[in-house]
């Protein structure tokens, strides 16, 4: 009897010690989105915004008035010390287990401290590398308060669903903390982050469907935010922006991405008063790089499958084969122009590439030392780049050649 009691006593030491890391789900405040800003008081520290989910909101038997999310902003040295400071008013124990996204104001992203803040956050075990990195034009605290998704009650779902849209339409780079830190520490090219705003600006007057920065789309209703385009980072600091169109071109020029469903419009080649709409799939992109000369010679070839969605000019591109090949050549030329324009911009303005071409270049070197001596970022601006485009017109929808308008007007 005594032995059994002693055994249970000793065993309870082992079992009970497991309690030091237990958490009670209803005591926890799960931070879904972190926002970072320059400090609103003083010079040092950062303004941290937590969008905290309430796990027990909306559950049967619980207080129905409790909000599903609560947004709290405070000035603190870093996000981790802000946890305890939050408890000066809030009851929940703050954690980052399910943080989906981090929103940073453009002002902070352009400052020198930015990379230090991002990199040092990864020391905390609760921070996960797969959270999305968003850069907001305005203060992150304002952005998070204004982001009220029309269809989703929780920001958690919002970012989960959005990232699936981003993967398809490629209007923003689907970039995570992992991608950002990897690209920055590899020091070979630009890192891209998602660009967004919740304040609408003067709408941009353009015929294009993707050539926007956030806030420029003429849109009413729904939620106030616009997520399109990319913030461009070089050596851990934001140096510029790219429009939705440029992001698309950049992602197509990458070998690995292969965006699947890009709905685009171009001027109709025969009747420029109209636009022609299509859906493109980037089937393959081949990049070959020669590093034997002083400056690299890069050959990029892209393959597209294009489905024609709308021909408002009513010109017969479907059954008329000479028109069809004209359209094909036109698409190839158009795409070539877009790509050359972006490449020129990266070479002259950014002086580094966002296309991950360094992944192809590094194959040509035997040791890391040789590769570092070649310094891809330094040699890229002088690189000679040849682009080839190959378009296949695969579908024209469920209609043959459009009815000739003159016959109707007759």
């Amino acid at each position: 009897m005594k032995k059994t009691l002693l055994f249970f006593l000793l065993f309870s030491f082992v079992i009970l010690s497991g309690c030091s890391d237990k958490i009670e789900i209803e005591e926890e405040g799960f931070v879904l989105v972190i926002g970072l800003d320059k400090p609103s008081v003083g010079e040092k520290g950062i303004d941290i915004t937590f969008q905290i989910a309430n796990p027990s909101a909306g559950r049967a038997g619980e207080d129905n008035n409790a909000n599903e999310v609560e947004t709290i902003t405070l000035t603190a040295p870093d996000p981790f010390s802000a946890r305890d400071m939050t408890n000066s008013s809030e009851t929940r124990n703050i954690n980052f287990y399910h943080t989906k996204a981090i929103v940073i104001s453009e002002e902070l992203a352009k400052s020198n401290d930015f990379f230090h803040i991002m990199s040092s956050m990864m020391r905390e075990r609760q921070i996960r590398r797969d959270m999305h990195v968003l850069i907001s034009k305005e203060k992150a605290s304002e952005y998070l308060r204004n982001n009220k998704p029309s269809f989703e009650a929780s920001p958690h779902k919002f970012y989960d669903f959005m990232s699936r849209r981003w993967k398809r339409n490629a209007l923003v780079p689907n970039s995570t903390m992992h991608d950002f830190l990897r690209a920055t520490s590899a020091d070979a090219g630009l890192a891209l982050a998602i660009y967004t705003t919740a304040t609408s600006e003067e709408p941009k007057d353009t015929e294009d469907e993707d050539n926007f920065l956030p806030g420029e789309i003429n849109k009413r209703g729904g939620s106030d935010i616009q997520i399109i385009g990319a913030a461009v980072f070089k050596e851990g600091k934001m140096i510029g922006t790219m429009t939705g169109e440029e992001v698309r071109v950049a992602l197509i020029l990458q070998k690995e991405m292969r965006p699947e469903r890009l709905i685009f419009t171009y001027d109709d080649p025969i009747n420029p008063d109209f636009r022609i709409t299509g859906k493109a799939t980037n089937v393959r992109t081949d990049v070959s790089i020669d590093v034997h000369q002083e400056y690299p010679v890069i050959k990029v070839k892209q393959w597209f499958d294009i489905k024609v969605l709308a021909i408002p000019s009513l010109i017969d591109y479907v059954e008329n084969l000479s028109n069809q090949s004209k359209l094909k050549d036109y698409f190839e030329r158009k795409y070539y122009e877009h790509a050359s324009k972006l490449i020129e911009r990266t070479q002259k303005e950014f002086k580094a590439e966002p296309f991950n071409w360094s992944n192809q270049a590094r194959k040509k070197f035997w040791t890391l030392t040789e590769y570092e001596d070649y310094d891809w970022m330094k040699s890229y601006p002088n690189a000679e780049i040849k682009i080839e485009v190959d378009v296949t017109l695969t579908e024209f929808g469920k209609k043959l050649s459009p009815r000739d308008i003159s016959e109707i007007k007759d």
Binding site: S20, Y97, R128, D130, S185, A186, D187, N359, K363, F365
Partner: protein, 363 residues
């Protein structure tokens, strides 16, 4: 001392022991140490190290074949005499025991850093070494059977983990393939060859194995599989983190399991891997503890060594608690001291013994 009925550990059980004790080295800081030294080429180090350690393994197998029923310590004594034998035995003990201590501390640090930050590390240590002691105390057969039973589950989950991150890796990150150059790779392969030194220690309990044939077969199969496994995981790490990035990831395995997601909704499943990984580490440390104690007891020619397991287990906790933090443990003690010092010793011992055996045999 050893009855024929004790000789139960067969080929498959021994392979399981090798795979679990040596084949989970990629889950601690070993990969980070290697990547720091050799950059993108770290995955080549296990291949070369494996080849280097293969030489003494062959000599050792030859000796074991000749001496049939004797264990390694008895062979040492009969070849080098009482005093030198004792000295060599103690050196062996020190190298195996020191690696038990530093490795167990390193595993406790992993659990503490990645999973249970608020739990006292003494408690974690007690649980890890306590369970290992419990297992070791039942004898080698129990360890072997436990290893064999749990092997499929542990390895299956490792493979699932790998498969689930393959869509997030980029093959190009292993380039430039040479890292810091061929010379650095060779140099580090030599100094880190003790990653595979554990294989020599099993010969201390050689009489427990079924027969020489199954011991030889299992050693070779297990050895090859372990090298393959290490290379595979090191390549996955570099393909996920890329080179300058991996240098400051303390525990790449644990970090990668956080990226694993089953479909769209099942995320944050690293705890599943923690479960299987803990079982593997308990088996690993029970065999370490068992063998270290055996070396000590055989060197002192004690009749029984099982009663020593408990004090030696407690001593692991006491010594393991000494380093202030994991940096001192892994970079100051385990890296340069334990790994590099034992490399030379373990490499030369079988060759030395075999040459003495040849000279004596011809006399």
């Amino acid at each position: 001392m050893i009855k024929p009925t004790d000789r139960k550990v067969g080929t498959r059980e021994f392979v399981a022991i090798i795979l679990l004790s040596m084949g989970i080295k990629f889950t601690d800081m070993t990969p980070t140490l290697l990547y720091k030294e050799t950059a993108n080429a770290a995955w080549m180090v296990p291949i070369l190290s494996g080849l280097i350690m293969f030489v003494p393994l062959l000599f050792l197998l030859k000796l074991l074949k000749f001496y049939k029923d004797k264990n390694l310590i008895e062979i040492i004594f009969s070849l080098t005499g009482k005093y030198v034998g004792f000295l060599l035995g103690m050196c062996l003990f020190l190298s195996s025991y020191s690696s038990t201590v530093t490795n167990s501390r390193s595993y406790v640090d992993i659990i503490s850093t990645m999973f249970f930050p608020n739990t006292n590390i003494i408690v974690l240590f007690l649980l890890l070494i306590g369970s290992s002691y419990y297992l070791a105390n039942r004898g080698l057969n129990t360890i072997a059977n436990t290893a064999w039973i749990s092997l499929p589950y542990i390895k299956a989950f490792m493979v699932i983990g790998i498969l689930m991150v393959t869509n997030q890796v980029n093959f190009n990150y292993i380039f430039p393939i040479g890292g810091y150059g061929a010379l650095t790779i060779i140099k580090n392969s030599i100094s880190y060859s003790s990653i595979f030194a554990d294989i020599m220690f099993f010969s201390v309990v050689f009489p427990f194995f079924k027969n020489y044939e199954s011991f030889r077969k299992a050693s070779l199969i297990g050895y090859a599989l372990v090298i393959f496994e290490l290379v595979m995981f090191l390549t996955i790490y570099i393909m996920y983190f890329d080179f300058p990035g991996i240098e400051n990831i303390t525990y790449p395995f644990q970090e990668i399991t956080r990226a694993v997601r089953l479909g769209r909704f099942i995320t944050n499943i690293e705890a599943v891997f923690l479960g299987f990984w803990s079982v593997a580490s308990i088996i690993r440390f029970s065999i370490y503890l068992y063998i270290s104690t055996a070396i000590f007891a055989y060197s002192l020619k004690l009749k029984e060594f099982e009663p020593l397991l408990l004090p030696f287990g407690l001593l692991v906790i006491l010594l393991g608690y000494l380093p202030e933090n994991f940096i001192i443990n892994s970079f100051q003690i385990r890296g340069p001291f334990v790994l590099n010092m034992t490399s030379g010793f373990i490499f030369s011992l079988p060759i030395l013994l075999w040459s003495i055996h040849k000279i004596r045999g011809e006399r």
